[in-house]
């Protein structure tokens, strides 16, 4: 059986002197109906993986396949209809929605992508209802909504394209703390209910561990630990994962300081895979 998303031996290099090896040999898989959380610090390569999976950057080596079909890098021409089965929700809903188009029209773009692949047409208003917004709001514009509501609109647009694979690249980090967990859970539930896989990228472990089935921890372009989310949260094995978890401040009012970082720490890059 083909995995829904299969990333094998992925290397991505950015130009520069010396060239930057953003992703340095990563294997990653997402099954249908599964939520995989990809975590790590800024610069560890997690967004580059998201971009490679969408065909927004060209891998230097390795393969990315969705249901056995290779993902081709996006060029000047329109993306082949088959690839619209991969949809992405970006970090900043202020930038990812078009400011001068009504939100119903933008969700309609997603619907048209689904119809072009042979799916039945659907109403933008219905998608608004599913993400918990007023279905009558379809004629309104992005600036009339709060950040959390805009991210729900971006999720509605992605889901309207009936993706088999949904990717969220830091979809909750621009939102207020009180809405982060709710929006993350909404993404999980809508993706899993439609049978899609979800690759959820975030640096916020306390939210990711709530919604992910599996966790993949990246450090300096490589995967250092992967396995069931609850196991890793309870019992991290790799020293880097342990440091990452110890640094998360807990809002319990105890005044307990998070563990300070080790200066110039170099963690081993041998992976712990379970």
């Amino acid at each position: 059986m083909n995995r829904l998303l299969d990333v094998t031996g992925l290397h991505v290099t950015y130009r520069g002197r010396p060239p930057v090896r953003a992703v340095d040999g990563v294997d990653l898989a997402v099954e249908a109906g599964q939520v995989v959380g990809l975590v790590g610090e800024s610069g560890c390569g997690k967004s580059t993986i998201a971009r490679a999976v969408c065909g927004l950057v060209k891998p230097a080596a390795g393969t990315v396949t969705v249901d056995g079909t290779p993902v081709t890098p996006l060029g000047l021409r329109r993306r082949p209809a088959a690839l619209t089965r991969v949809q992405m929700v970006f970090q900043d809903p202020y930038a990812s929605l078009h400011p001068r188009r009504a939100i119903g029209v933008q969700i309609g773009d997603g619907v048209r992508a689904a119809v072009a692949r042979g799916a039945a047409p659907s109403e933008p208003a219905e998608w608004l209802r599913r993400v918990g917004l007023d279905p009558d709001a379809a004629r309104r514009y992005p600036h009339e909504f709060s950040g959390g509501q805009r991210q729900r609109i971006a999720i509605a647009r992605a889901l309207a394209a009936r993706p088999d694979l949904l990717i969220g690249d830091e979809p909750i980090s621009a939102l207020d703390a009180s809405t982060q967990a709710v929006v993350a859970a909404l993404m999980r539930d809508l993706a899993v209910d439609s049978g899609a896989g979800l690759l959820f990228i975030s640096h916020d472990l306390s939210v990711v561990r709530l919604i992910a089935d599996r966790l993949v921890v990246m450090y300096r372009g490589r995967v250092v630990e992967s396995g069931p989310a609850q196991e890793i949260w309870r019992d991290p094995q790799h020293p880097y994962t342990q440091a990452l978890l110890a640094a998360v401040p807990v809002p319990d009012g105890s005044g307990r300081m998070p563990a300070p970082p080790v200066d110039d720490a170099r963690y081993p890059q041998d992976a712990v895979l379970r």
């Binding site: 610090e41 859970a185 306390s206 998360v248 401040p249 009012g253 300081m257 998070p258």
Partner: protein, 271 residues
Amino acid sequence: MTVLDIAGLTLSIGGTEILRGVDLRLEAGRVQGLAGESGSGKTMTGLAVMGLLPPGSQVGGRITYGDQELLGLSPGRRNALRGTEIAMVFQDPSTSLHPMLSIGAQTTDHLRHHLGLRRTAARERAVELLSRVRIPDPAGALRRYPHQFSGGQRQRIAIAIALACSPTVLIADEPTTALDVTVQAGVLHLLRDLASEMGLAVLLVTHDLGVMSAVADRVAVMRHGEVVEDGERHQVFTAPAHPYTASLLASLPGATGGVQSLDDVRALEAT
């Protein structure tokens, strides 16, 4: 000891009410947290203390620093206090430092202007400050530029510049929001130490209640331009007096009474 007393602070800009009567007291050696969602007025409260409000701002109420009433001061007197006795650290160290000036220029300019130090004395003081915030090789760092440092180091340098004239009040507006969690932990330790060792009165503005729980002694919560809750940290987190604080905590993973599982989050969404 109360260092700065904000009483009934109101602010409107272009007819829009931003602050509707804010009361806060900063005490020496203590970290006063100011929490709230985006748009609640917490940053504007910090800027009002600094005297850095946008043009067209209508300010009311009182901000008392020692025996001086800040809101009535002339721009010149205000300038003399800003950066010397009341200093500020901003959210994003990659924009608050000048990219084209060496760290040496950015730390010593300040010292020479405000304290009238000569070049060598200013350099010595700058090296002392950079080692205080644990920048490796502080003397060498003076010749380097912001892009040669990591995000966490840049924020430490911004803190060093803020500390240059030994201020009594430090306003830190989301000082760790742009940093990774592991780097954030280091900056939080530094802020905590500065308050206890140098007796700084710190106003820590952040939306991150995890950060608040780690370093704040007192926590105030703002909503729609008002302080709805202000109390000792432990009490605010474990027995919040205002329903809004309770609802904020209920939405957070890891908080007392906060969400612990996916089902808790779904229950939250349903209400």
